[in-house]
Assembly symmetry: C2
Homo-oligomer: 343 residues x 2
Amino acid sequence: MAPVTNGRVIFKEVPKGYPEAGKTMVYEEQTIDPETIALKPGEWLVKVLVLSVDPYMRGRMREPSKKSYNDPYTIGEPIENYGVGLVLRSENPKFKAGDYCQGVMDYAHYAICHKTDKFYVIENKPENLPWTTYVGAAGMPGETAYYAWKEYAFAKKGEVAFVSSGAGAVGSLVIQLAKRDGLKVIASAGTEDKVQYMKKIGADVVFNYKTTDTKEVLEKEGPIDVYWDNVGGETLEAAIGTANQHARFIECGMISGYNGQFYPVKNLMMIIQKELRINGFIVNSLRDKYVAEFQAAMPKLLASGEINFREDVTRGLENGDEAVVSVQKGTNVAKAVIVVADQ
Amino acid sequence: MAPVTNGRVIFKEVPKGYPEAGKTMVYEEQTIDPETIALKPGEWLVKVLVLSVDPYMRGRMREPSKKSYNDPYTIGEPIENYGVGLVLRSENPKFKAGDYCQGVMDYAHYAICHKTDKFYVIENKPENLPWTTYVGAAGMPGETAYYAWKEYAFAKKGEVAFVSSGAGAVGSLVIQLAKRDGLKVIASAGTEDKVQYMKKIGADVVFNYKTTDTKEVLEKEGPIDVYWDNVGGETLEAAIGTANQHARFIECGMISGYNGQFYPVKNLMMIIQKELRINGFIVNSLRDKYVAEFQAAMPKLLASGEINFREDVTRGLENGDEAVVSVQKGTNVAKAVIVVADQ
């Protein structure tokens, strides 16, 4: 194999508000030789096939001095996220050339991986799902929805659930999990296309939060027993205000506040009055408990169509920075993925 | 028994900010004859001996149109709260003349009671505690501390707990329960006297939040694993900011916001990042699960001195309105009680 071009999306600077393509992150190329590039013991080299684009990535674009549950991106190095790669060479006994592996890898055409415990080999048999699925409904966003719904919803048939960002990678699965548990589901999103999709996958009450008042919908269709929060801020306030006694709040994301905006939630006292149970969580903490069950169940449900999913595919790593920005602004139309190479 | 004077503290108007003695509530007298006053089936008449004064009472001084977990006080009628009374006459088989009963009764010298399921007869043998104890450490505030600590703290030896309003009726018991479970306890209050008391009952780190920055103390002495919140607002924000991963927040009260003030908590996103578990609760919901255990354990612990308590006693119902205001403003020095009659 001759030297090849290795494109990479490099983190350039910490953004103040929304990240900017070509400024916060820049696509750059280098030349490498996959046959000779040095691998240390425990490392393996992958050809990156697909990469995920997720809202939480904004949190990694921070000053290194700020502590959080994940590491900040490093200025001058590629950004990274969940992906699927074909193993080309390996100095790690867990992975061999020809394997397909899933884990957090560089936004690059070729990536050297080393975090053994964060990667797994994908069998994908007999389902034969597209690789993109393994960074979406069968990957981290799928795990997020599945694990936390199981752990924190305490769902009872006939109850009412509200899901914000209900057309997103996580929200669309939560809607379907809630319906499978027999709940009435209210779901919100920010475009008419997304609203239609939420209806298609089974949500009972759907609305566009940009044109319809969230509080009015919840007052009419609630009170709500489970709130799956992807957005925080004013929507969280509306959910608290219309929550039933003993409602459960699953705090998955607060994208409304990720890019510098701040909305002061004014009714926190109702946490006491309504005896709310609020759980923040990170998918990694629940993985050990549910991963075996998830991997046995979810690919089958997706392959059979019992659970529906859709993806917003960006082709070409050179468009990766735009895809990242799009997810922060909510202009993607479904679970955002990048197809870096076809094989 | 001849006709007697029956003083009552009447609710006059919904306050905008802090309630005012003589305006929000007014002490008024009427004449009644305890021997002949009519009792319907199921009712019983008590001579009120002691009454409790609690922060949550502010929530009942609201417009009746506002829903909450408890009933609003009625304009023109006495305010009510937990008390202990001597039964004079009874048309209820659960209570007989000569019994001492505990339950929510009118701020009055004589009260007609009827909510059988909310009252119980106090044996007080062999402990022979003062009646005031049964509206304090052995009553509702004691239940509040005991039940929610058992249910929501998930306390592990060596962890760090933070208790706000740590010299109050509930907080002072929480400090001692946390110490009994082997935790390091940080506690805050608003006067030097209260700070000294928290030290006396075993808190490891005590401070006056009016003269010392809460966030600085918690940054130095934390991270905190359990936060018992009695105040909300800026203190809640500081606790979230210095919480450990997987910390538990027990939301018992938010007195900083009861009287019209609003502080916007700006770091709610950390609920996710730190995987916080936040439980709002109302003592009544936990009673069935823990009341037998509590009644068997707490009076003994108080009588033996293993758990310390202190009270701020107001003598005379005519001072009841002032006592209620004092608790809202935090000028009481300990669990506030009113001794209405000595026997």
